[in-house]
Protein backbone atom coordinates (compact mmCIF):
# COMPACT_ATOMS: atom_id res chain seq x y z
CA UNK A 1 0.00 0.00 0.00
CA UNK A 2 1.00 3.63 -0.39
CA UNK A 3 1.37 4.83 3.17
CA UNK A 4 1.06 8.56 3.73
CA UNK A 5 1.63 10.13 7.10
CA UNK A 6 3.43 12.94 8.85
CA UNK A 7 6.65 12.17 10.72
CA UNK A 8 8.27 14.83 12.87
CA UNK A 9 6.37 17.53 11.03
CA UNK A 10 7.30 16.31 7.56
CA UNK A 11 4.94 14.65 5.14
CA UNK A 12 6.27 11.25 4.22
CA UNK A 13 5.10 8.37 2.09
CA UNK A 14 6.30 4.90 1.28
CA UNK A 15 5.17 1.73 -0.43
CA UNK A 16 4.92 -0.82 2.35
CA UNK A 17 3.05 -4.02 3.14
CA UNK A 18 0.02 -2.95 5.21
CA UNK A 19 0.93 -5.26 8.09
CA UNK A 20 4.53 -4.10 8.27
CA UNK A 21 5.21 -2.86 11.77
CA UNK A 22 5.29 0.90 12.19
CA UNK A 23 8.66 0.30 13.90
CA UNK A 24 10.10 -1.19 10.71
CA UNK A 25 8.59 1.52 8.54
CA UNK A 26 10.30 4.18 10.63
CA UNK A 27 13.64 2.38 10.73
CA UNK A 28 13.79 0.89 7.24
CA UNK A 29 11.69 3.11 5.00
CA UNK A 30 12.41 6.44 6.65
CA UNK A 31 15.89 5.62 8.07
CA UNK A 32 14.82 6.87 11.49
CA UNK A 33 16.81 4.39 13.54
CA UNK A 34 16.50 6.30 16.80
CA UNK A 35 13.43 4.19 17.60
CA UNK A 36 14.72 0.85 18.89
CA UNK A 37 13.49 -2.72 19.03
CA UNK A 38 14.07 -4.38 22.40
CA UNK A 39 11.59 -7.22 22.54
CA UNK A 40 9.01 -7.19 19.74
CA UNK A 41 6.27 -8.02 22.23
CA UNK A 42 5.19 -4.66 23.59
CA UNK A 43 6.94 -5.22 26.93
CA UNK A 44 10.04 -3.04 26.90
CA UNK A 45 8.91 0.24 25.34
CA UNK A 46 12.18 0.84 23.45
CA UNK A 47 10.10 1.33 20.30
CA UNK A 48 7.70 3.84 21.85
CA UNK A 49 6.70 6.80 19.66
CA UNK A 50 3.84 9.29 19.70
CA UNK A 51 0.99 8.73 17.25
CA UNK A 52 -1.29 11.76 17.19
CA UNK A 53 0.19 12.63 20.57
CA UNK A 54 -0.49 9.27 22.18
CA UNK A 55 2.32 6.99 23.30
CA UNK A 56 2.31 3.65 21.49
CA UNK A 57 4.67 0.72 21.08
CA UNK A 58 5.50 0.89 17.39
CA UNK A 59 6.22 -2.86 17.30
CA UNK A 60 2.50 -3.46 17.89
CA UNK A 61 1.12 -1.09 15.26
CA UNK A 62 0.46 -2.04 11.65
CA UNK A 63 1.65 0.41 9.03
CA UNK A 64 -1.87 0.73 7.65
CA UNK A 65 -3.14 1.81 11.05
CA UNK A 66 -0.73 4.74 11.02
CA UNK A 67 -2.00 6.09 7.72
CA UNK A 68 -2.87 9.76 7.98
CA UNK A 69 -1.50 10.14 11.48
CA UNK A 70 1.11 12.49 12.88
CA UNK A 71 4.08 10.63 14.32
CA UNK A 72 6.78 11.99 16.57
CA UNK A 73 9.99 10.08 17.19
CA UNK A 74 13.08 10.86 19.23
CA UNK A 75 14.65 12.47 16.19
CA UNK A 76 11.92 15.09 16.17
CA UNK A 77 11.48 15.50 19.90
CA UNK A 78 13.40 18.79 20.09
CA UNK A 79 11.80 20.32 17.00
CA UNK A 80 10.46 23.72 17.96
CA UNK A 81 11.28 23.08 21.59
CA UNK A 82 15.05 23.09 21.78
CA UNK A 83 17.29 24.83 24.26
CA UNK A 84 20.73 26.29 23.65
CA UNK A 85 22.27 22.86 23.10
CA UNK A 86 19.67 21.85 20.53
CA UNK A 87 18.06 19.45 22.98
CA UNK A 88 14.51 19.29 24.29
CA UNK A 89 14.35 20.08 28.02
CA UNK A 90 13.74 16.40 28.77
CA UNK A 91 16.79 15.36 26.75
CA UNK A 92 18.84 18.04 28.45
CA UNK A 93 17.76 16.84 31.87
CA UNK A 94 18.61 13.23 30.97
CA UNK A 95 22.07 14.34 29.87
CA UNK A 96 22.78 16.37 32.97
CA UNK A 97 21.35 13.91 35.46
CA UNK A 98 22.52 10.57 34.18
CA UNK A 99 19.14 9.46 32.83
CA UNK A 100 20.80 7.62 29.96
CA UNK A 101 23.41 4.94 30.52
CA UNK A 102 23.66 2.48 27.64
CA UNK A 103 21.04 4.56 25.85
CA UNK A 104 19.04 1.82 24.19
CA UNK A 105 15.89 2.44 26.25
CA UNK A 106 16.42 6.20 26.13
CA UNK A 107 14.46 7.10 22.98
CA UNK A 108 11.37 5.29 24.27
CA UNK A 109 11.85 6.69 27.76
CA UNK A 110 12.08 10.23 26.37
CA UNK A 111 8.89 9.77 24.36
CA UNK A 112 7.06 8.37 27.39
CA UNK A 113 8.24 11.32 29.45
CA UNK A 114 7.18 13.73 26.72
CA UNK A 115 3.73 12.15 26.61
CA UNK A 116 3.43 12.54 30.37
CA UNK A 117 4.55 16.16 30.54
CA UNK A 118 2.26 17.11 27.66
CA UNK A 119 -0.75 16.31 29.82
CA UNK A 120 0.62 16.68 33.32
CA UNK A 121 3.00 19.59 33.80
CA UNK A 122 3.70 18.90 37.45
CA UNK A 123 3.68 15.15 37.96
CA UNK A 124 4.33 13.55 41.33
CA UNK A 125 7.08 10.95 41.63
CA UNK A 126 4.49 8.18 41.48
CA UNK A 127 2.90 9.68 38.38
CA UNK A 128 6.32 9.78 36.71
CA UNK A 129 7.02 6.18 37.64
CA UNK A 130 3.61 5.05 36.43
CA UNK A 131 4.07 6.90 33.15
CA UNK A 132 7.42 5.19 32.59
CA UNK A 133 6.30 1.76 33.76
CA UNK A 134 5.98 0.45 30.20
CA UNK A 135 9.61 1.25 29.48
CA UNK A 136 12.15 -1.21 30.83
CA UNK A 137 15.61 0.01 31.71
CA UNK A 138 18.27 -2.46 32.83
CA UNK A 139 21.02 0.06 33.61
CA UNK A 140 19.79 2.80 35.89
CA UNK A 141 17.38 1.31 38.40
CA UNK A 142 15.20 4.19 37.14
CA UNK A 143 16.40 6.55 39.87
CA UNK A 144 18.15 9.06 37.64
CA UNK A 145 15.50 8.77 34.94
CA UNK A 146 12.78 9.73 37.41
CA UNK A 147 14.95 12.58 38.68
CA UNK A 148 15.54 13.78 35.14
CA UNK A 149 11.84 13.82 34.27
CA UNK A 150 11.07 15.70 37.49
CA UNK A 151 13.80 18.19 36.66
CA UNK A 152 12.50 18.63 33.13
CA UNK A 153 9.03 19.29 34.51
CA UNK A 154 10.47 22.02 36.73
CA UNK A 155 12.54 23.48 33.90
CA UNK A 156 9.77 23.36 31.35
CA UNK A 157 8.09 26.71 31.84
CA UNK A 158 11.27 28.73 31.37
CA UNK A 159 13.11 26.33 29.07
CA UNK A 160 16.16 28.43 29.65
CA UNK A 161 18.31 25.74 31.06
CA UNK A 162 21.55 25.36 29.19
CA UNK A 163 24.06 22.58 28.95
CA UNK A 164 26.28 23.47 31.87
CA UNK A 165 26.96 21.01 34.58
CA UNK A 166 24.02 20.74 36.88
CA UNK A 167 26.09 18.98 39.54
Amino acid sequence: MRLRLEVNGRRRSADVPPMKRLLDVLREDFALTGTKEGCGEGECGACAVLVDGALVNSCLVAACQAAGTKIRTVEGLADGNAGATGLHPIQQAFWERGGAQCGICTPGMLMAAAALLATNAKPTEFEIREALAGNLCRCTGYVKIVEAVAAAARAKPSQRRTGRDAG
Binding site: P17, G42, N57, A62
Partner: protein, 306 residues
Protein backbone atom coordinates in the same frame (compact mmCIF):
# COMPACT_ATOMS: atom_id res chain seq x y z
CA UNK B 1 9.71 -9.74 13.62
CA UNK B 2 9.76 -13.38 12.58
CA UNK B 3 7.92 -14.25 9.43
CA UNK B 4 7.24 -12.06 6.44
CA UNK B 5 4.85 -9.14 6.84
CA UNK B 6 4.48 -8.84 3.07
CA UNK B 7 2.57 -12.11 3.02
CA UNK B 8 -0.32 -10.65 5.04
CA UNK B 9 -3.33 -8.89 3.61
CA UNK B 10 -5.44 -6.27 5.30
CA UNK B 11 -8.98 -5.16 4.59
CA UNK B 12 -9.78 -1.69 5.87
CA UNK B 13 -13.54 -1.13 5.81
CA UNK B 14 -14.91 2.35 6.38
CA UNK B 15 -18.22 1.25 7.84
CA UNK B 16 -19.64 -1.50 10.01
CA UNK B 17 -21.80 -3.00 7.27
CA UNK B 18 -18.77 -3.30 5.03
CA UNK B 19 -16.76 -4.89 7.83
CA UNK B 20 -19.50 -7.40 8.56
CA UNK B 21 -19.74 -8.27 4.88
CA UNK B 22 -16.10 -9.32 5.05
CA UNK B 23 -16.88 -11.52 8.03
CA UNK B 24 -19.81 -13.07 6.18
CA UNK B 25 -17.38 -14.46 3.64
CA UNK B 26 -16.23 -18.04 4.39
CA UNK B 27 -12.66 -16.89 3.69
CA UNK B 28 -13.09 -14.25 6.34
CA UNK B 29 -10.27 -12.09 7.70
CA UNK B 30 -9.39 -11.90 11.39
CA UNK B 31 -10.44 -8.71 13.16
CA UNK B 32 -7.61 -6.41 14.25
CA UNK B 33 -8.15 -3.51 16.65
CA UNK B 34 -5.37 -2.26 18.94
CA UNK B 35 -3.02 -5.08 17.95
CA UNK B 36 -1.62 -5.49 21.45
CA UNK B 37 -2.23 -9.23 21.42
CA UNK B 38 -2.06 -9.96 17.70
CA UNK B 39 1.32 -8.37 17.11
CA UNK B 40 2.87 -10.34 19.95
CA UNK B 41 1.98 -13.47 17.97
CA UNK B 42 3.10 -12.00 14.64
CA UNK B 43 6.43 -10.92 16.12
CA UNK B 44 6.95 -14.45 17.33
CA UNK B 45 6.22 -15.93 13.91
CA UNK B 46 2.92 -17.46 15.06
CA UNK B 47 0.53 -15.65 12.76
CA UNK B 48 -3.02 -16.79 13.50
CA UNK B 49 -4.26 -15.75 10.03
CA UNK B 50 -3.08 -14.40 6.71
CA UNK B 51 -5.85 -11.85 6.23
CA UNK B 52 -6.84 -9.20 8.75
CA UNK B 53 -9.80 -6.88 9.14
CA UNK B 54 -8.53 -3.57 10.47
CA UNK B 55 -11.22 -1.85 12.53
CA UNK B 56 -9.34 1.45 12.88
CA UNK B 57 -11.67 3.37 10.58
CA UNK B 58 -14.90 2.17 12.22
CA UNK B 59 -15.90 5.15 14.31
CA UNK B 60 -19.20 3.37 15.07
CA UNK B 61 -17.26 1.16 17.44
CA UNK B 62 -15.96 4.07 19.45
CA UNK B 63 -17.53 6.07 22.21
CA UNK B 64 -18.92 5.69 25.68
CA UNK B 65 -22.63 6.42 25.92
CA UNK B 66 -24.21 7.12 29.26
CA UNK B 67 -28.00 6.98 29.51
CA UNK B 68 -30.81 6.07 31.84
CA UNK B 69 -30.45 2.52 30.53
CA UNK B 70 -26.88 2.35 31.69
CA UNK B 71 -23.51 2.55 29.94
CA UNK B 72 -22.74 1.43 26.43
CA UNK B 73 -19.07 1.08 25.63
CA UNK B 74 -18.08 0.78 22.00
CA UNK B 75 -15.88 -2.21 21.25
CA UNK B 76 -12.98 0.05 20.33
CA UNK B 77 -13.05 1.75 23.74
CA UNK B 78 -9.47 1.77 24.95
CA UNK B 79 -8.23 1.45 28.51
CA UNK B 80 -7.09 5.06 28.30
CA UNK B 81 -10.66 6.01 27.34
CA UNK B 82 -11.91 4.17 30.42
CA UNK B 83 -9.41 5.88 32.70
CA UNK B 84 -10.42 9.36 31.56
CA UNK B 85 -14.12 9.11 30.76
CA UNK B 86 -16.21 11.26 33.10
CA UNK B 87 -19.15 8.92 32.74
CA UNK B 88 -17.00 5.97 33.79
CA UNK B 89 -15.39 7.81 36.65
CA UNK B 90 -18.82 8.85 37.92
CA UNK B 91 -20.91 5.75 37.29
CA UNK B 92 -18.47 2.81 37.11
CA UNK B 93 -15.13 3.88 38.60
CA UNK B 94 -14.21 0.22 39.04
CA UNK B 95 -13.66 0.08 35.28
CA UNK B 96 -11.19 2.96 35.45
CA UNK B 97 -9.46 1.29 38.37
CA UNK B 98 -9.16 -1.90 36.35
CA UNK B 99 -7.95 -0.06 33.24
CA UNK B 100 -5.08 1.46 35.19
CA UNK B 101 -3.76 -2.03 35.92
CA UNK B 102 -3.49 -3.04 32.26
CA UNK B 103 0.07 -3.08 30.86
CA UNK B 104 1.22 0.51 30.97
CA UNK B 105 0.40 3.73 29.16
CA UNK B 106 1.33 2.59 25.64
CA UNK B 107 -0.76 -0.58 25.97
CA UNK B 108 -3.67 1.30 27.56
CA UNK B 109 -3.63 3.66 24.57
CA UNK B 110 -4.06 0.82 22.09
CA UNK B 111 -5.76 -2.11 23.79
CA UNK B 112 -9.54 -2.25 23.42
CA UNK B 113 -12.40 -3.82 25.35
CA UNK B 114 -13.71 -5.52 22.22
CA UNK B 115 -10.30 -6.97 21.48
CA UNK B 116 -9.99 -8.34 24.98
CA UNK B 117 -13.43 -9.95 24.91
CA UNK B 118 -12.91 -11.32 21.41
CA UNK B 119 -9.63 -12.90 22.47
CA UNK B 120 -11.31 -14.47 25.49
CA UNK B 121 -8.09 -14.93 27.38
CA UNK B 122 -8.77 -16.48 30.79
CA UNK B 123 -6.29 -13.93 32.16
CA UNK B 124 -8.31 -10.96 30.90
CA UNK B 125 -8.51 -8.14 33.44
CA UNK B 126 -11.66 -6.43 32.14
CA UNK B 127 -13.64 -9.66 31.94
CA UNK B 128 -14.11 -10.25 35.69
CA UNK B 129 -15.04 -6.62 36.25
CA UNK B 130 -17.58 -6.70 33.44
CA UNK B 131 -18.98 -9.97 34.79
CA UNK B 132 -19.37 -8.42 38.22
CA UNK B 133 -21.14 -5.51 36.53
CA UNK B 134 -23.48 -8.04 34.86
CA UNK B 135 -22.53 -6.68 31.46
CA UNK B 136 -23.93 -7.78 28.14
CA UNK B 137 -22.11 -8.11 24.85
CA UNK B 138 -23.52 -6.77 21.64
CA UNK B 139 -22.71 -8.80 18.54
CA UNK B 140 -23.40 -7.77 14.98
CA UNK B 141 -23.47 -9.77 11.76
CA UNK B 142 -24.52 -9.31 8.22
CA UNK B 143 -27.66 -11.04 6.95
CA UNK B 144 -27.91 -10.22 3.30
CA UNK B 145 -28.04 -6.44 3.18
CA UNK B 146 -29.15 -6.10 6.77
CA UNK B 147 -27.02 -5.73 9.86
CA UNK B 148 -28.40 -7.99 12.55
CA UNK B 149 -27.52 -7.45 16.19
CA UNK B 150 -27.99 -9.63 19.18
CA UNK B 151 -27.14 -9.22 22.82
CA UNK B 152 -25.71 -11.88 25.08
CA UNK B 153 -25.11 -11.90 28.79
CA UNK B 154 -21.35 -11.81 29.25
CA UNK B 155 -21.68 -14.80 31.56
CA UNK B 156 -22.93 -16.77 28.53
CA UNK B 157 -20.26 -15.38 26.22
CA UNK B 158 -17.17 -17.29 27.39
CA UNK B 159 -17.66 -20.90 26.40
CA UNK B 160 -14.20 -22.42 26.82
CA UNK B 161 -10.49 -21.75 26.65
CA UNK B 162 -10.20 -18.78 24.28
CA UNK B 163 -13.61 -19.69 22.87
CA UNK B 164 -16.74 -17.55 22.81
CA UNK B 165 -20.37 -17.79 21.82
CA UNK B 166 -19.78 -15.35 18.97
CA UNK B 167 -20.29 -16.93 15.58
CA UNK B 168 -17.58 -16.68 12.98
CA UNK B 169 -19.49 -13.98 11.10
CA UNK B 170 -20.12 -11.88 14.19
CA UNK B 171 -18.16 -8.96 15.53
CA UNK B 172 -18.23 -7.64 19.08
CA UNK B 173 -19.54 -4.12 18.65
CA UNK B 174 -20.22 -2.97 22.20
CA UNK B 175 -20.43 -3.89 25.84
CA UNK B 176 -23.32 -2.62 27.91
CA UNK B 177 -23.75 -2.27 31.62
CA UNK B 178 -27.32 -2.06 32.86
CA UNK B 179 -28.35 0.88 35.02
CA UNK B 180 -29.39 -1.61 37.67
CA UNK B 181 -25.74 -2.49 38.17
CA UNK B 182 -24.67 1.12 38.40
CA UNK B 183 -26.65 2.20 41.41
CA UNK B 184 -27.30 0.23 44.53
CA UNK B 185 -24.13 -1.83 44.05
CA UNK B 186 -20.60 -1.42 45.29
CA UNK B 187 -17.57 -3.01 43.66
CA UNK B 188 -14.03 -3.97 44.49
CA UNK B 189 -11.27 -5.20 42.19
CA UNK B 190 -7.91 -6.83 42.72
CA UNK B 191 -5.25 -7.91 40.27
CA UNK B 192 -2.28 -10.01 41.31
CA UNK B 193 0.48 -9.99 38.72
CA UNK B 194 4.18 -10.66 38.80
CA UNK B 195 4.91 -6.93 39.00
CA UNK B 196 2.97 -3.72 39.36
CA UNK B 197 2.81 -2.85 35.65
CA UNK B 198 3.25 -4.75 32.39
CA UNK B 199 1.92 -7.86 34.08
CA UNK B 200 -0.42 -10.61 33.01
CA UNK B 201 -2.61 -11.60 35.92
CA UNK B 202 -1.80 -14.62 38.05
CA UNK B 203 -5.17 -14.11 39.73
CA UNK B 204 -7.66 -11.32 39.09
CA UNK B 205 -10.99 -10.79 40.76
CA UNK B 206 -13.92 -8.42 40.94
CA UNK B 207 -16.69 -8.47 43.50
CA UNK B 208 -19.96 -6.57 43.57
CA UNK B 209 -22.40 -6.49 46.45
CA UNK B 210 -25.83 -4.96 46.34
CA UNK B 211 -26.74 -2.17 48.69
CA UNK B 212 -28.02 -3.60 51.98
CA UNK B 213 -30.65 -0.85 52.04
CA UNK B 214 -32.39 -2.67 49.24
CA UNK B 215 -32.31 -5.90 51.14
CA UNK B 216 -35.09 -7.08 53.45
CA UNK B 217 -32.72 -7.05 56.36
CA UNK B 218 -30.53 -4.06 57.18
CA UNK B 219 -26.80 -4.57 56.61
CA UNK B 220 -27.44 -7.77 54.70
CA UNK B 221 -26.70 -7.43 50.98
CA UNK B 222 -29.34 -9.03 48.83
CA UNK B 223 -26.85 -10.36 46.36
CA UNK B 224 -23.20 -10.64 45.44
CA UNK B 225 -21.54 -11.04 42.06
CA UNK B 226 -18.07 -12.51 42.10
CA UNK B 227 -15.86 -13.15 39.11
CA UNK B 228 -12.33 -14.47 38.80
CA UNK B 229 -9.75 -14.63 36.05
CA UNK B 230 -6.64 -16.81 35.58
CA UNK B 231 -8.08 -19.57 37.75
CA UNK B 232 -9.87 -21.67 35.11
CA UNK B 233 -10.07 -22.12 31.35
CA UNK B 234 -12.29 -19.06 31.15
CA UNK B 235 -13.03 -16.09 33.31
CA UNK B 236 -15.60 -17.48 35.74
CA UNK B 237 -18.48 -16.33 37.88
CA UNK B 238 -18.07 -17.83 41.34
CA UNK B 239 -21.57 -19.16 41.78
CA UNK B 240 -20.92 -21.18 44.90
CA UNK B 241 -19.30 -18.27 46.72
CA UNK B 242 -22.11 -15.97 45.57
CA UNK B 243 -24.62 -18.46 46.92
CA UNK B 244 -23.03 -18.36 50.34
CA UNK B 245 -23.33 -14.59 50.47
CA UNK B 246 -26.84 -14.12 49.13
CA UNK B 247 -28.97 -12.39 51.72
CA UNK B 248 -26.28 -12.86 54.29
CA UNK B 249 -24.67 -10.24 56.47
CA UNK B 250 -21.16 -9.43 55.18
CA UNK B 251 -18.90 -10.37 58.06
CA UNK B 252 -15.77 -12.47 58.63
CA UNK B 253 -17.72 -15.67 59.04
CA UNK B 254 -19.51 -15.18 55.73
CA UNK B 255 -16.23 -14.31 54.03
CA UNK B 256 -14.60 -17.45 55.35
CA UNK B 257 -17.46 -19.57 54.09
CA UNK B 258 -17.43 -17.85 50.71
CA UNK B 259 -13.72 -18.52 50.45
CA UNK B 260 -14.23 -22.19 51.20
CA UNK B 261 -17.00 -22.41 48.59
CA UNK B 262 -14.89 -20.60 46.02
CA UNK B 263 -11.93 -22.91 46.42
CA UNK B 264 -14.08 -26.05 46.54
CA UNK B 265 -16.41 -25.35 43.66
CA UNK B 266 -15.73 -22.28 41.56
CA UNK B 267 -12.12 -22.38 40.44
CA UNK B 268 -9.81 -24.92 38.82
CA UNK B 269 -6.43 -23.25 38.41
CA UNK B 270 -3.43 -24.81 36.69
CA UNK B 271 0.36 -24.61 36.86
CA UNK B 272 1.84 -22.55 34.06
CA UNK B 273 4.82 -20.32 33.31
CA UNK B 274 3.50 -17.52 35.45
CA UNK B 275 2.41 -19.24 38.63
CA UNK B 276 1.27 -22.46 40.25
CA UNK B 277 -2.14 -23.97 40.84
CA UNK B 278 -1.46 -24.06 44.59
CA UNK B 279 -0.59 -20.39 44.74
CA UNK B 280 -3.58 -19.40 42.64
CA UNK B 281 -5.93 -21.42 44.81
CA UNK B 282 -4.54 -19.98 48.01
CA UNK B 283 -4.45 -16.41 46.78
CA UNK B 284 -7.84 -16.49 45.08
CA UNK B 285 -9.36 -17.33 48.45
CA UNK B 286 -7.33 -14.73 50.30
CA UNK B 287 -8.07 -11.88 47.91
CA UNK B 288 -11.76 -12.75 47.97
CA UNK B 289 -11.62 -12.30 51.72
CA UNK B 290 -9.90 -8.92 51.41
CA UNK B 291 -12.32 -7.68 48.77
CA UNK B 292 -15.30 -8.71 50.90
CA UNK B 293 -13.69 -7.08 53.89
CA UNK B 294 -13.29 -3.83 51.94
CA UNK B 295 -16.92 -3.91 50.88
CA UNK B 296 -18.23 -5.08 54.26
CA UNK B 297 -16.16 -2.69 56.33
CA UNK B 298 -14.55 -5.35 58.49
CA UNK B 299 -10.93 -6.39 58.96
CA UNK B 300 -9.62 -9.35 57.01
CA UNK B 301 -6.52 -9.59 59.15
CA UNK B 302 -7.61 -12.54 61.24
CA UNK B 303 -8.66 -14.46 58.16
CA UNK B 304 -5.21 -13.89 56.69
CA UNK B 305 -3.27 -14.81 59.81
CA UNK B 306 -3.10 -18.49 58.94
Amino acid sequence: MRGDSSTFEVVRPRGLAEALAELADPDRPMPLAGGTDLFVLLNDGRAPARRYLDLTLLDELRGIESSSAGLRLGARTTYTDLRHSRAILRRAPILAEMAATIGAVAIQNRGTLGGSLGNASPASDPAPVLLALDATVELARREGRRVERRTLALSDFFTGYRATAARANELVTAVSIPASSLSGWRYAYRKVGARRAQAISKVVAAVGVSDPARSDRPRHPAAARIAFGSVAATTVRAGAAEGVLAGRRLDPAAAAEARAALVAHDIRPIDDLRSSADYRTLVAGRILVTLLADLGGFSAADLLAG
